[in-house]
Structure formats: structure tokens, C-alpha cells
Amino acid sequence: MFKEMHDLFRWAWLIPALPFLSFLLIAFVTKRSKGLSSTISILAILTSLGLAIAIAIGLIQSGAELVEHPAIVAVNWLNIGGLKIDFGTVVDPLSTMMLFVVTLVASMVQIYSLGYMHGDKGWSRYYAYQSLFAASMLGMVLATNLLQLFIFWELVGLCSYLLIGFWYFKVSAREAAKKAFMTTRVGDFGLLLGILFLYTKFGTLDFVALATILNTNFQDVALIGTASYVTVMAFLVFMGPVGKSGQFPLHVWLPDAMEGPTPVSALIHAATMVVAGVYLVARMYFLFDHADPIALQFVACIGAFTAIFAASIAIAQDDIKRILAYSTLSQLGYMMFALGVHSYSGSMFHLMTHAFFKALMFLGAGSVIYAMHHKQDIWEMGGLWKTMPITGTTFFIGILAISGVPPFAGFFSKDEILATALHNGHPIIYGVGLFTAFLTAFYMSRLFFVTFCGPAKPENHTKESPWSMTIPLIILAFFSVVGGWVALPEHNFAFFVHYGEYEPEMIDWALAGISVLAGLLGIGLAYVIYLKKAISAEKIVATFPGVYKVLQNKYYIDEIYLWIIKYIMGGIAQVLYFFDIYIVDGIINGIGFFTRSSGKVLRKSSTGQLQTYAMVFFLAVVIIFMVFAFGENQLTSLNPLATLGGVK
């Protein structure tokens, strides 16, 4: 046991606490002062970033210690009738990695927002929400037990709602916020059921305790129940990530979430909140590991399907943010199926690298949108590289990273996932992943070539964005380049972040070569169609009009859901409405009616005539006498009258 905890890890709780404090200050104190609000917020998140980097360095220095024995600081929060819940922080490689990613991207986004949100009337409110989100996400990452995680999970969802609907005067923004919240709610319901089930079965929600129970006692069927229990729990818990991480079929909220400001999309819907689901599966991996293999197979299938499904939609989209949103969905699918094929390290590695280059590209897109005076259709753009060199260069780095071109970040992570998939015996998923890599490279390059290359349209007066926006781009581009290199040293990423036994894996250069080839093919095809114009895009569309229409309309999933809600749920609601009106209300009204009518009958006894009353009175006397006299079955003799006459 790591007895003398590195003092630094005791202060891990400051990391979420500082942004939360910033949120409180902005919300209650500095609302009027725009400058103060943003300063406080950015200071808080930068301090958290510094702390996170310090913790990361401490972690690397301590070697493998924290992998086996995470540094946990917890205080008992709830102790009600057997339910003991702690509130604390856990510092292990997984949470350290997440801390670094979240604080880095959050601070970049907040600095970027100085430029992007300039002049917006809701400036303070924006920074308050940003701080709250940072605090919630960091709190979730540091959670020691499922309940604490769930609390922050919900908080993060709330922040997403608030930030998507930030421009609340736009109807589309309001609708999108509601849609996001409600869709993730469906998933959260399953997660909550899973949590309850876990608690009733194991009596604890602490991660370490649960892992210990499942790892050591797995042979004890009496304690664990059959493996089917654990499988059900795993499925239920997985519902949460399906909603939060945008897996099919609960992916519908993420593209609509692009109604929020672009920095918000970069932070929440690319790099941090949506990976909360993947993080949860990683945290609860011991549960999935001990469940029936079908659980992980299900995870893998959903992930892989989402990946190719989203990628196929992305090739037919025209809005720059929508393309990036579907790209995010696709990459989330990658992370999910990586977990499904037991590529724990690969999934987490991809989570980290994806955060860097996706945030980079979103911020770059924001830069473009800002320069285009908030126009988002890529066909109205063109030749922006000339006028916005920094944005263009950094965006290009992001494209190369996501396409898996070495030596950029995406190559290492994506390759690790695909290699593990094939080595662990999932050739179909490997094929799907490879094809999706090709599609990813294709549509991202399409985006780049249409937006940044080609002839510039004269009606767009674009210029480079201010320094507040370009510096985060440069920093993120830097990480997109070097981020993958943590796979190379001896104590590489997988050394720290892994599940179960550590097996150092050498890079399979043959498979790596194939995936690089797929990426380059994608870029090449896009180059040919959109830059060289050798193959006409219009002709392809004309050849497959139906396919194009389906892809462009996102497979009509939204329409199907609306139909289901309107007719099926509406029908059920109608039936229940009639039940409520006629049966439930009928019973209540019936009771009232019965009372009234019996009253009507009974009031006839109040005749107002004293003679009747007197008669009833004496009749009662006679009856009572008879009851007394003959009550105890003494009908034969007149002795019972003794009770009245005193006969012996």
C-alpha cells in the first residue's frame, strides 16, 4: 500500500474546487464586470492546469506505484441506514490523464472565447457556465465512487444544456438544448438502474471496493450471483455512455448541439463531456470484464457501428460544424469499440489524442466562422488559407492527425486500436475500423480542401483572427503533433494506463502501414475530387441520388424518432389519458356522487317532526333491552332479565 502518499496528491481536490469557486464568484459577485468575470475564470482554470501538470509529473516520477495503488483521499459524506457514500478524489493514471486533458482543453477554450465571444451580451454568464462545467467534469474524473460520479455526470449534462442553449433567444438553440438533455436522460435512466442494481447486490458503490469484490470473489457464485447478474449490470451501466457519448441510437443530440457557441462545441462536444461515457466504461471496466463476453461484444458492435454510421453521414454534410460533429461521433465510436475489443490503453490513448486534434479543429472552425461573420456553409467558403494562414496551418495539422498520418498524434492511437482489434480476434471490427479510417480521412480532407483551398470568394472579407484565438490553436496543434509520442518511451502511455496485466506491445508495422495507406487514400480521393476537380462531385451525387439524399438527411433517424414519439408514445399517452379521465376521475367523482346521493336519502330522516324522533328513540331503547336480555343465548328462561331487574 502506498503508505506515504505524495503530498501533492492530497491537493487534487483543488483542481475542481477552483473552477467551482470561480463559478460562484462570477454568478454572485462579478456578474456586472465582464473583465473580472473572464479573468477569474481563466485564472482558475489555468491554476487547475498547473496543478494537473504537477500531478502528472508526480505520477510519472512515481513509476508504477500509482497504477497498482491509486492515491485516494476521501471523506465520509453520507451514512444513512447502511448506505455509506464517500466524497473524495482518486489519483491514478487514468484520472491524471483526464485531468490533464480536461484542464488543457478547457483553458485553451476559455482563452479562445476572449476573442470569439467578444461583444456578446452574456459574457459573464458564459464564463460562469464554463467554470461550472470545468468544475463538474473535473469532479467527475476524480470521483471515487459511482454516486459521486453520477452527481457530476448529471451536472455536466446540465452545463451542456445551459451552454447549448446559451443563445436562448434562438428557437433552434432552445430546442437543441432540450433535445440534448432529454436524449441523455434516456441513457442516464439505464445508468441509474445499473447503479441501484450494483448497490443492492454488492452494498457498495466505491470503485476500489467493487473491483476488489469482483476480482477476488468471482468464483463465489453465492456472493456474486451468476455471471448473468453482472452482465445485466454491465448492460445497464452501458446505457449511460450510449446517451452521453453519442452512440447509436442515442446519437441524435450531438449534431444539434452545434447550436451552441463554437468554443462550447470544442470543449464539451468534442473533447470532454462526450468522452465521459467512454471514461465511465473504462472506470467500470472490471464490471465488463467479469460479465459475460456478450457485454463487451455489444459495446464493440455499438461502437463500431456508430463509427461507420457517423462517418457515412459526414461525407454528405455541408455545414462545417456538422461535419466535425459527425466526426466526433465517429471517433467516439472508435473509442467505444476499442474498449469492446479489450484495447483499454488504445481507447484511452485515442481519447487523449482525439481531444487535442478535435478541439483544435473545432476552434479552427470557429476561427473560420468568426472570420466569415457567422456563416457556416463550406460551399460559401474557399481559399481561406491565404487570408488566414495560422488557422489554415493548424487546421491542416489537425487533418493529418485525424487521418492517422505519422508522426502526428492520431496515427499512434488509431493504429494501436486497430492492431489490438485484429490481434484479439475481431476481424470484422478491424475491417469496419479500417474503412472508417478511410472515410474519416476523406470527409475531413473534403472539408479542408473546400474551405481553405481553391479560389477565394471575393464577397468574403476574411482576415486572420486575433491572438486570443490563434494562440490556443497553436498550442493545441503542438499537442496534436507530439501527443502521440508518449507511446514511444519505455514507460509509455500503456505502461501507466492499462487494465489487468501489463504486456508491452511492439508496434506492428505492417498493420500500421495499412492504416496509413487507408488514410492517405482518403486524402488522395478528396484531393482528386475537390481540388483537382478531376472527378466531378456532382456526377457522383447524380449517380446515387437516393444514397446521397439518405446520407444528407442523416438516415432520417430524427424523423423516425419524431414519428415514434408522435404516434406510438402519443397513442399510449392517449390511452392513459382516457384511463385517467374515465376510470381514475370516475372513481373519485363516483365517490363524491355516492356521498351526495346517500346524503340525499339520509336527510329524509330529518323530518323535523318530534314525534318521529321520539318513536325512534324508544324503539332504540327496546332494541337495546332485547340485546341485553337475550344476547347471551339465554332464550329459554327469563333469567337474563336479571340484568335489568336484579333477580337472583
Binding site: G608, Q609, L610
Partner: protein
């Protein structure tokens, strides 16, 4: 009582009590079924008289003793008070009847139904 000894008939307590019971029941019937309020009051007087007979009869047959200076005459005293109260009650009751008659021009009990629903 033995019917063969009808000539030796002596009247005991039970007889007086039965007489009282009959008067009481007749008075009760009058209270229930007469329409004229004055007839009802008369029936009430009958009932009170029946009660008096009971008191006096018990006093005569069972409590026929002398204790120190006093004779046991509690029954008589009770009957006396009943007479006093009955008299007062008749007075006031008839006054009420006259008042009602003045207002409503009727002594028919059926029409005194202001407590009706």
C-alpha cells in the same frame, strides 16, 4: 297469582307496577300518534303520573321502615317533586302552544316542521 284464590286476591307490588306500566305505554302512544300538540302534552302528563305511581309503590312495599326520627318517605318526596316539575312544565308548555298558535294559527304537530331538512 293463583286464580283459584281470586277472592283472597291481595294486591302486591307487581300489580301496581303493571298499572304504572300500562299508563306509561298509553301515554307513550299518545305522544307518538296525536296530531294536536295539547294532546301530546296531556299524554306526557299521563307518563309522569305513571312514574309517580312507581315511586310511591316502591316506597310503600319495599321501603316501609322508620330510621331514627324519619320515616323513609323518599318515594313520596320524589313524586312530589315530579308533580312540581310537571306543573311548571305544563304551564310553560301551554304558554308556548298559545304563542305558536298566535303566530301560525295551528296546533297541528305535523306543521311544526321547521327542523326539517
Amino acid at each position: 297469582m293463583n286464580l283459584s284464590n281470586l277472592s283472597n286476591l291481595s294486591v302486591g307490588l307487581s300489580t301496581y307496577l303493571l298499572v304504572g306500566a300500562m299508563l306509561f305505554s298509553l301515554g307513550l302512544y299518545g305522544v307518538f300518534s296525536k296530531r294536536n300538540i295539547i294532546a301530546v302534552l296531556m299524554s306526557i302528563e299521563l307518563m309522569l303520573n305513571a312514574v309517580n305511581i312507581n315511586f310511591v309503590a316502591f316506597n310503600r312495599f319495599i321501603w316501609n321502615q322508620k330510621v331514627d326520627v324519619h320515616y323513609i318517605l323518599n318515594g313520596h318526596v320524589a313524586a312530589l317533586f315530579v308533580i312540581v316539575v310537571a306543573a311548571a312544565e305544563v304551564a310553560v308548555g301551554l304558554a308556548l302552544v298559545i304563542t305558536i298558535y298566535r303566530n301560525r294559527q295551528t296546533t297541528n304537530v305535523d306543521e311544526f316542521n321547521w327542523l326539517k331538512w
